[in-house]
Symmetry: C2
Subunit: 351 residues, 2 copies
Amino acid sequence: MAVTLADVAARAGVSAATVSRVLNGNYPVAGSTKTRVLAAVEELEYVVNGPASALAAATSDLVGVLVNDIADPFFGQLAGAVQSQMGPGTPGGGPRMAIVCNTGGSRERELTYLTLLQRQRAAAVILTGGAIEDPEHIEALSARLRRLEAAGTRIVLCGRPPLPDAEAPAITFDNRGGAQRLTEHMLSLGHRAIGYIAGPAARTTTRHRLEGHRAALAAAGLGGGADRLTVHGGAYDRAAGYEGTLALLDREPGLTAVLAANDTVALGACAALRDRGLRIPDDVSVAGFDDLPFAVDTTPALTTVRVPLTDAGAHAGRLALSPDAPAEGVVTYPTTLMPRASTAPPPPEKP
Amino acid sequence: MAVTLADVAARAGVSAATVSRVLNGNYPVAGSTKTRVLAAVEELEYVVNGPASALAAATSDLVGVLVNDIADPFFGQLAGAVQSQMGPGTPGGGPRMAIVCNTGGSRERELTYLTLLQRQRAAAVILTGGAIEDPEHIEALSARLRRLEAAGTRIVLCGRPPLPDAEAPAITFDNRGGAQRLTEHMLSLGHRAIGYIAGPAARTTTRHRLEGHRAALAAAGLGGGADRLTVHGGAYDRAAGYEGTLALLDREPGLTAVLAANDTVALGACAALRDRGLRIPDDVSVAGFDDLPFAVDTTPALTTVRVPLTDAGAHAGRLALSPDAPAEGVVTYPTTLMPRASTAPPPPEKP
DNA sequence: TTCCGAGTAGTAAGCGCTTACTGAATCAGC
DNA sequence: GCTGATTCAGTAAGCGCTTACTACTCGGAA
């Protein structure tokens, strides 16, 4: 039915092995033969059978990318950057294809996808986004990853810290430092009643950002009441920001600033503040994290911390494809404070 | 090295064929045997070799999804919805995996990815987003799709009209009607000088939305000067909105409304208006299209047209998996006007 | 008791490709 | 002109799985 290697070989008057060698180019073939084979490929519109070659060569050209939420631009950018390194004419030989797997932040699906990728004999797997900090889950995850590595799959972590006993290279963001600088920025503006809406608990990203915030507070001698002004959202979404802000406002009516776990959460915070009749930044300052494209378009423009998603994603993609695992351990990308109009000095004390 | 079917068979004391049958469940196997096999699979941590089974069975469990820009939430939502139909415990037998391919709107990459998917012997391919209306490209695309279909790959179109001579099912959005209703909404508010920032030319989505807009204008007897107040963006992005708005403003200082090709473009339009010192909606009304999640969080909240991305994506996913091609032709999803605060009556005429 | 047809399990022939290994030229060096 | 290296192409043995086809067992109808 479909055109096979043998058909091409017959057409070109050579053996199947020669055609294979021309196509893979890892063995000397005379120029004239090569031309003839290529012509036959063209004429017959031959397309390699991926599964067959994966089986024979025990390698596949599939790379898995695990993301928490593909509809979230944070992961969209990351995935896009990873994919920019694949396709034709990219490092590591032939074209690769990225399989983006949407875990939805579910532990179970994370593991399931890993098995599915092992089943595809993926060449590499890139785990993105903060890791879940449940020892039990980490153990299960490590076990799966160990199996994958044993099967020859390269593992790359992007946006999460390295795993306890694996040597998979990790790319991380300086979330802690970014959060710290952001809080310092708020403090320097004069804010003292700063609410913090953290992401879901038991996530590395959540913890690191919160740690940075706490560190800045502590350095300013304000560490004491921090807990009271911190709430945890159920996800990194708008609802977390909205509800978190309302909760904070109830807890501390004198709130002058809200720091959100990320830009999307900040959007929800802004909505809640507006619904309560508070102006940004006149009454309350708001800041996000990540500097997603829309941050510059909110009103007022959102102060946030830029995370170099594109660079990191591309880097992860390259690491995944590099035939020789450099295993350079952890690379940390810096984060940058982006002060914009949503933060300003707090309003003068009301008499 | 890796555990194979034979290993499992040996462990369970049966033949490889039996193990295969237990795993695929399309042949009677006695309960006790099944239990024994499953236990062996468990103990050996056996994971099927996907490529091998794809080769032998001449089918793969990979589904390709072509998107224009994975970092755009529009496609992110669509891709997420498609994937929600795959994975374990979904229609069409075993777990499938979605390969999301980022074409970046490039014709060449669109074709390349299609070849790459053919190479993987994908079970189905879902093409999302507006199609490019270049006869030459359509021809090339159709040829590739015909080859894919000949190879047994199901084709599903989502968000684009059916192809000339293919019977691939298509899911479309009522872009035309949505745009028409949106323009009618503006007209009913009293706007007459309505600028339109269209998407890139030669895209079906661009054309349909523009047609709807023109139709509403014509029905109101305003069809005449429509061209003068229409600009085309180079992409569906913020820059298109920003630059398009500045161009419109130069062309018609008395502009009272800007309709954008989509929500992201509208964001750019808002930014340009603000930079020119114009208030929304007091001086100029703005509307978008798609109703992406952030539309409700802009200031003021963006009037837009809701497009049921999640439903459509899930539908496309189901169509792609359904073993028997229903080939129900074209299904059109309705779009809904979402009037919000960014549109209001035009300011009173200045004397 | 014989025979037949369910119901199960095994055998073996590929699926289309890669890649050692082998073989046939060609060619430089003496 | 002969030898040994070198270059290029063919042969064939799988890679791990699926699936006709065959073979056996067993209960019940004849």
